[in-house]
């Protein structure tokens, strides 16, 4: 994406919401040469500039989803970096962090570099690679974290699995301090969770499915908080799903421990009731839980205990999901429904203010993961999300840019939709009218 | 618009007819030796009970009485829609070599009797099977014939013949009714 010879882009008359500048007012944003030239107030229209009418829409720093699975290398049949980045742009995201549980695992600088280049070639949302914590994600030997950072990795995780050895997690947290990158944990005690396919509760008792108790997550949450305390490292909790986990992270933050946390859109909107009828599009790990958990997660977002909103976008092939429940793989897609779900369940309900929502989807992801962007201040990256926070639309999986169709929101009405996505000054997505 | 059902036999007439039928059965059978009376659920069973009682009073012998539910042998099960309720079949002793008289209330198409014959064949091999019906309304669709008939009547197609027995309906009588009418009737 060359910055030279680019037309200026004027985003005119939208509600500009930029928590990093304490801004929430109607105004214009001007982009030049791939960067933010000016922001706020009524800016004039420079000669030759492209003008996008944003009246009635919100203009925010580009949204970043730090937890997605792009499946490439290895499973290009279900998603490629290109289709995933396109899906992200269609959802309003200007950047995503791609998890390393690919085939082969992204545990070395060559694969990290490959993912980065594929993202750049795709030309949609920016793709920041995660590197694996351990070789092959086997949980035995530390991978070459330094080399991976050099090739472009922004964080480390063995997501898909937990790091079962506390010693290895401790080492990773200590070693990662050298590079000042977060270590992200998929919190799941396998001895409690093994064989489980949904939340342990009355629903699993009725359906005759082995359940995964909340404690399987919480045990690792507190373990890793204590290890972060010991090492001074930065632990980031992936996809929290229980009330207990929120309480533990709050405990950690109160003591000044460097812990951050994320929550998925589906975990703040859907309960285990979605599994009724053995619906495999409601099967993911960690599973959907109860209304009480949803309430705690929403409170956690509102009071800042949980920093970020993510999707854990996990496409699967139709045939793989078209199976007996216990055998179906875990995961649902989320990039193209996230904004709608978040606006419907958090903004419309008043759980979060607009500033808080934009913060959780844009500013904080950039801040926590040390990524460029997350702000509309002059001179920063020309990444902008333009969205309509109240527009009503019905989810139709067949329209997705992602190859994955596995969504539990199919046929549902959502309020809130991306209307345009700008990356490096280029409009990489424009919603059909 | 509603026509009152036409009475064919009142309670007294039913009684007289059953007595005559019982006599005819004894005549046909030459007494009560090896005689088994089998009623077809449901009203055939009540009528069979009455006949057995009449024979008991007359001859001092209690003839064995069986009950046959033919639901599972119907030839229209695949097309009748929701499953009809199945009643209890009960045949005393073996029927091999016995003389069975089937008793039913109304003989019409003959399909019920055809089913009854198939069912009896699954239980054994009687020496003979005879058929006694209270009402023969014609309209046969199969070559089935009653040996003993209480009363023959002519019925317009679409009309219904309702038989009421004391034990089940609290009254007795035989009526012809139009299809629209609910089964009721005054004696």
């Amino acid at each position: 994406m060359s910055a030279a010879n680019m037309r200026d882009l004027l985003l005119k008359g939208g509600r500009v919401v930029d928590p990093s500048q304490g801004l929430d007012a109607v105004g214009d944003v001007l982009l030049r040469n791939g960067k933010i030239e000016a922001c706020g107030g009524a800016l004039g229209t420079p000669d030759g500039a492209e003008v996008m009418d944003c009246s009635g829409l919100v203009v925010s720093p580009g949204m970043i989803d730090v937890h997605v699975h792009l499946r490439e290398p290895g499973r290009e049949d279900v998603e490629t970096i290109k289709t995933g980045a396109h899906s992200a742009a269609a959802g309003g995201f200007t950047g995503v962090c791609a998890m390393p549980n690919t085939k082969p695992v992204t545990d070395n600088q060559a694969t990290v570099g490959f993912v980065k280049r594929q993202g750049e070639a795709a030309g949609y949302a920016r793709v920041y690679p995660y590197g694996a914590i351990s070789l092959g994600q086997k949980g035995e030997t530390l991978a070459e974290l330094g080399e991976m950072v050099g090739a472009g990795a922004v964080a480390f995780s063995d997501d898909g699995r937990p790091v079962e050895s506390a010693h290895l997690m401790r080492t990773a947290l200590e070693y990662a301090r050298t590079f000042n990158v977060p270590v992200a944990e998929h919190c799941e005690d396998m001895s409690l969770a093994r064989g489980g396919s949904m939340n342990e509760g009355v629903m699993s008792a009725r359906l005759g499915l082995k359940g995964i108790p909340a404690e399987a997550e919480e045990i690792y949450v507190i373990r890793d908080i204590l290890l972060a305390k010991r090492t001074g490292g930065h632990i980031h909790m992936c996809h929290l799903s229980t009330r207990g986990s929120v309480e533990l992270v709050r405990w950690g933050k109160e003591r000044g421990i460097h812990v951050t946390a994320e929550v998925c859109s589906h975990h703040i909107s859907l309960t285990e009731d979605e599994v009724e009828g053995y619906n495999t599009n409601a099967k993911m790990n960690p599973p959907l839980r109860t209304q009480s958990d949803i309430d705690a997660l929403q409170e956690g977002l509102a009071d800042g205990t949980i920093d970020l909103l993510v999707t854990d976008h996990a496409p699967h092939h139709y045939d793989e999901k078209e199976r007996e429940f216990a055998d179906a793989p875990n995961g649902i897609v989320g990039l193209e429904t996230a904004l709608g779900v978040n606006c419907t369940w958090l903004l419309k309900t008043g759980v979060l203010t607009m500033t808080q929502l934009v913060n959780a989807m844009s500013c904080l992801p950039a801040k926590v993961f040390h990524l460029p962007g997350g702000t509309l201040s002059a001179g920063s990256l020309g990444d902008v999300t333009v969205f309509d926070p109240v527009r009503e639309w019905t989810v139709n999986a067949a329209d997705f840019k992602s190859k994955g169709r596995n969504t539990p929101y199919g046929g549902r009405k959502l309020f809130g939709q991306a209307r345009a996505t700008v990356v490096g000054g280029h409009v990489v997505y424009r919603a059909p009218s | 618009m509603s026509k009152k059902p036409t009475i064919v036999l009142d309670a007294r007439a039913v009684d007289r007819t059953l007595r005559r039928m019982a006599d005819q059965i004894l005549e046909l059978n030459d007494g009560t030796d090896r005689l088994i009376i089998v009623g077809i659920l449901r009203r055939g069973v009540q009528l069979a009970d009455r006949i057995v009682k009449i024979i008991e009073t007359q001859e001092g012998v209690t003839v064995p009485r069986g009950a046959l539910d033919i639901t599972l042998y119907r030839d229209d099960l695949q097309t009748v829609g929701p499953r009809p309720v199945v009643g209890a079949t009960h045949l005393p002793w073996t029927i091999d070599g016995q003389r069975v008289v089937i008793v039913d209330d109304v003989l019409y198409t003959g399909r019920t009797i055809r089913a009854a014959l198939d069912e009896l064949a699954d239980f054994g091999r009687p020496a003979r099977i005879a058929l006694a019906v209270l009402i023969d309304r014609g309209g046969r669709e199969l070559p089935i014939h009653a040996d003993i008939v209480g009363k023959r009547i002519d019925v317009v197609e679409g009309q219904r013949v309702d038989v009421f027995v004391e034990d089940l309906d609290g009254k007795e009588g035989v009526f012809v009714a139009d299809p629209a009418e609910p089964p009721s009737g005054d004696t």
Binding site: L207, E322, E324 | P82
Partner: protein
């Protein structure tokens, strides 16, 4: 124009008390057929029924086979082990292949909960759940209800306790649904590690000790204890299980009333149930087996209730 049970029998959770009673009322007169010399009625003549068993099971399969043959249906047995993944042919493909061969009904037993519903949603044939994972075993539940009803008459207010590994038991779940719908009071008794955490929310009392359960109940439905449970660490040993939870003659003698004893089989004599109890005067275990065939005949009869299109075709005079 569906029958009273609809297209499939997947479980007792979705049935009404009325539907359950129709099955029990239909099964009762059907018992007599198994007592005849010629144990056959022509009712399902010409129908093809496939017994699709993905889990080894002799007794349930044989019971279904008897039921099918006594109704004059043609039976085909397909046995397979393991999930779609290990077999290499998905359940969907298996189902579609069968359907292409123009079959009328499928009886399926499968190790995955929800497998029967999965199949029923994808094929037009009637589907009968003969046990799906830990979810339900509706014909077992129904035959247990019939056995209890034959002895007790009305089940309203009757106290029935299910004893054993309820957590992993589809028989227990079907029984809980069926009994509560017919108004019985249901309890479970077993080691807490083998009871679902949320079991009370299913409308059921919990007894921690077998003595308390025996004191309270009018009938016990005793579940088989599987070897795998010891191996997976849920309870220490079979011997301990028998000591603490076994239904023995001594325990029954101390009961305030005479309890009916049920067991879905096969029994681990000396583990969950002692031989003198299994063979004793209050055991109705063999009645359960007899009732099993009648119940399955009733279910086949009620589900096969005339396909609507055939009715329309017949009425139009086209054969």
């Amino acid at each position: 124009m569906k029958g009273i049970l609809g297209k499939d029998l997947l479980g007792l959770e979705q049935l009404t008390a009325e539907q359950i009673n129709v099955v029990l009322d239909t099964a009762t007169p059907l018992k007599e057929i198994s007592l005849r010399q010629i144990k056959k009625v022509p009712t399902l003549r010409g129908m093809t029924i496939v017994n699709l068993f993905f889990e080894a099971s002799t007794r349930t399969r044989i019971s279904f086979e008897f039921a099918e043959k006594r109704l004059s249906a043609d039976t085909v047995n397909v046995a397979s082990t393991g999930s779609s993944v290990s077999k290499g042919e998905t359940l969907v493909d298996t189902a579609r292949n069968l359907e292409a061969m123009k079959i009328d009904m499928v009886v399926i037993r499968h190790p995955a909960s929800g497998a029967a519903q999965f199949l029923a949603e994808r094929i037009e044939s009637n589907v009968i759940n003969a046990g799906d994972g830990m979810h339900e075993h509706p014909t077992q539940g129904l035959l247990d209800l019939l056995t209890l009803r034959d002895r007790f008459g009305d089940l309203k207010g009757r106290r029935i306790c299910i004893v054993g590994d309820v957590l992993h038991s589809r028989v227990a779940r079907s029984n809980i649904w069926g009994l509560t719908k017919l108004g019985a009071e249901v309890a479970v008794c077993g080691p807490r590690s083998l009871l679902p955490n949320a079991i009370e929310e299913m409308g059921v009392k919990v007894f921690q000790r077998i003595e308390e359960a025996i004191e309270w109940a009018e009938a016990l439905n005793i579940l088989r204890l599987q070897l795998e449970r010891m191996e997976a660490g849920y309870i220490p040993s079979q011997r301990e299980y028998n000591r603490v939870f076994g239904v023995t003659r001594e325990r029954l003698e101390r009961a305030p009333r005479e309890l009916l004893i049920l067991h879905p089989g096969p029994m681990n004599r000396g583990v969950e149930i002692d031989s003198d109890v299994a063979d004793g005067p209050h055991s109705v275990i063999l009645d359960q087996v007899t009732n099993g065939v009648a119940i399955r005949m009733a279910v086949l009869y009620l589900l096969s209730g005339g396909r609507p299109e055939q009715a329309i075709v017949a009425k139009a005079g086209v054969v």
